[in-house]
Symmetry: C2
Subunit: 128 residues, 2 copies
């Protein structure tokens, strides 16, 4: 049974604290990661926290990329949620690990929306 979504959970440890504390660096890197994954960017929201830390979301036509950084811990949590067969979430994850200089990386891939056989057919209208 094919899942509707693929969810890559990426934990980046021992990052470059300066890189992940900069809203501009984080935003630019997330947009580039989305592009490298072949995603279609729909919208973005980024927010810088006081005294440090950045949260950011890239909404893509194929779901989203999210990041939360703890520069004081040199840690960043990244989620890459995609649907369809075309995207390459691992390419995005590897790029972010590299650009943030992560010393240690954990990646876990989850399947989202594994449906039962009775809703397997893709209808062309909404069920009532």
């Amino acid at each position: 049974m094919k899942p509707l979504g693929q969810h890559l959970l990426v934990d980046l440890f021992e990052c470059d604290a300066k890189a992940i504390s900069s809203l501009q660096v984080v935003k630019t890197s997330m947009l580039e990661a989305a592009r490298r994954a072949s995603a279609t960017i729909v919208n973005t929201v980024f927010h810088e926290f006081n005294p440090f830390g950045v949260s950011g979301i890239v909404v893509i036509a194929e779901s989203h990329l999210a990041i939360h950084t703890w520069p004081e811990r040199r840690y960043a949590a990244v989620d890459i949620f995609t649907c369809g067969d075309v995207l390459e979430p691992k390419v995005a994850a590897d790029y972010l690990a590299e650009v943030f200089g992560a010393g240690r990386v954990s990646q876990a891939r989850l399947e989202r929306g594994v449906l039962g056989p009775r809703v397997e057919e893709m209808p062309d209208r909404l069920p009532s």
Copy 2:
């Protein structure tokens, strides 16, 4: 070792197709879910797909809530990523399951950012 973030992955099956196909219903419900979890809302991005399907993110001071809906499959994937001890992500998840009329719900709680002892202290400045 205390994790930096809590990540609740919520899969809502057998939802009310009309509810999860409406951008307005999904957005209103996500904002209310964030409030019920005691989150501080920072920003939102919602997007409606053609022919149907809604993606939405609520950026909160404590991380984010995300949703992607497949009305034609009566399925919605929800992520509630929080940090700190105050928030109640399960309250948000239960509320969304109810408001979308989910017939079946799967919840999984993951810890994000479990750091080793050497970075356990919270410094008041960034590491160089």
